[in-house]
Amino acid sequence: MKGKHWPRLAVVLIALALVAAACGDSDDTTTTAAAAAATTTTAAATTTTGAAAATTTTEAMAEVPGLVEEGKLIVVTTGNFPPYTLINADTGDNEGYSIDLAQAVADRLGLEAEFPTVDFVAELEGLAQGLYDIADSGIWPNQARQEAGFVFSRPVTSTGIIAQVVAEMVDSEGFGDVTGKKIGGIQGSSQEKLVLDGEAEMGYDEYLGFAGAAEALIGLQQGRVDLLVFDTLVAGYTAVTNDEFGVAGPTIFPHPLSFTYQTGNEAKRDAIDVALNELLADGTVAALQIKWFGRCIPVPDDINQEAPYDTMASGC
């Protein structure tokens, strides 16, 4: 081959690489669930039955503004935070409370749901860049995130913080007394921030941040830390699925969880809140809570509502 062909070959190879990489990309990075046409018809006929919802879903369908892609609801999760979002080891599907709830919202609004998975940092960054409509991996709409400009839906459930421990330690006091203990957690999580901010009052010996829940569980299993600061529902899921782990002590810092939107997406949030209110009123949320949490969990009325929460989804 003559040397003058090399630049052309390089361009062709690079183009080939990028085009070939596109093949199967959506399959490998996202889980798509197409909304059935029948669902759209049902949704169109549905009217608001809950007291909180002000308009029909039919009206909301026409009014969901600012979607990233027309006709689609792109909900990004980590796929890494069971029972909110997890990858089924048999099917590879992205499942969980967050996924089912977002799917129910999409069905009700006649939209096709897409569930890409990324790391948590990239989840919020991608949301800020307008790549996704909603971020939803059990996100706490805390003050810092509200001040950062993220927009939050009405609460979709509530949770708290609890100590994840090895099974032999389930009778310990958990966060009732962590004096002299080594605490582990997930780097960058809200739970980590609370522990680090409360170091003086809590009197623990050391905090060790892990890259993710899987790494944190290895650390706990191997005795690197005495307990993990985990979301209550996540810790409960771990205890149920693996008898080497348990939970101990009280749940602290009860708080709501919400869908998270990009700054300026209030109108989109409001339209989707209509569907959420309907799902709370028609028993869908209650059914999903029982499916994924094994029981009904209070759903606060507002993201800034102070605990204790006593509002339950209809059907509980």
Binding site: G3, A10, L13, I14, A17, L18, A20, A21, A22, D25, S26, D28, T29, V76, T78, G79, N80, F81, P82, L86, I87, N88, A89, D90, G92, P116, T117, V118, D119, V121, A122, E125, G126, Q129, L131, G212, A213, A214, E215, L217, I218, Q221, T238, T241, N242, E244, F245
Partner: protein, 217 residues
């Protein structure tokens, strides 16, 4: 601690799917990195000062930035502007990062050839293109192969960083399954075994290439 290897059997298809994505990332980013690395190496040895400085600047910049940060830029800045998918952005980021190292590996191979051979080739009336192809590159290949292949192994393993931008390759699927099954030790051990198999293939390829290009005595 009781290990449950059944979880690896259950998740084996998903681990293979993640492995396939790892191989796609590796192959195309090495392809991009090698083509770009060769161009950069030749620019770095060019008689034109602008080409030398451009190449030096690229290599300085891309060796100075962590791969994770390059991937973030590739996905959230370049990828967004060009409408690239996560995998395309990943190949771009990994390939551009690898090119900086490959350029220096190729350059090291070329300058390892005795300068007298360049002069001898020119005195025989050979053009630069001719003596590079026939005299210099065949000799420099022997120096390039071990470091190039070691760098390939590093690129293979660094594909695991791509999970940060949503590419669920081998490490990514292992982390996700570790969380859903709460069996991280078993799944990470399986993933480590797969990486060892993949790197073994590269090491064997290195041996074959070294023998192919060895000096005949």
């Amino acid at each position: 601690m009781e290990l449950d290897w059944g979880v690896v059997v259950r998740a084996f298809d998903l681990l293979l799917k993640g492995t396939w994505l790892t191989l796609i990332l590796f192959f195309f980013s090495m392809l991009l990195g090698s083509v770009l690395g060769l161009i950069l190496a030749l620019m770095r040895m060019s008689r034109y000062r602008v080409a030398r400085w451009l190449s030096l600047g690229y290599i300085w910049l891309f060796r100075g930035i962590p791969v994770l940060v390059i991937l973030f830029f590739a996905f959230f800045v370049v990828g967004r502007e060009l409408g690239l998918t996560p995998v395309q952005s990943g190949i771009l980021g990994l390939g551009f990062s690898a090119a900086a190292y490959i350029a220096e590996i190729i350059r090291a191979g070329i300058i390892s050839v005795d300068p007298g051979q360049f002069e001898a080739s020119e005195s025989l009336g050979m053009t630069k293109r001719h003596y590079m192809r026939k005299i210099i590159i065949p000799q420099s290949i022997r120096v390039i192969i071990p470091t190039y292949m070691s760098n390939s192994i590093l690129v293979l393993k660094v594909t695991s960083v791509a999970v940060a931008i949503g590419i669920v390759e081998l490490t990514g699927i292992t982390r996700q399954l570790s969380n859903s099954t709460t069996r991280p030790i078993e799944l990470f051990t399986a993933a480590a075994g797969i990486y060892v198999i993949l790197t073994t293939v590269i090491i064997v390829a290195q041996e074959v290439l070294e023998r192919r290009f060895a000096l005949k005595t």
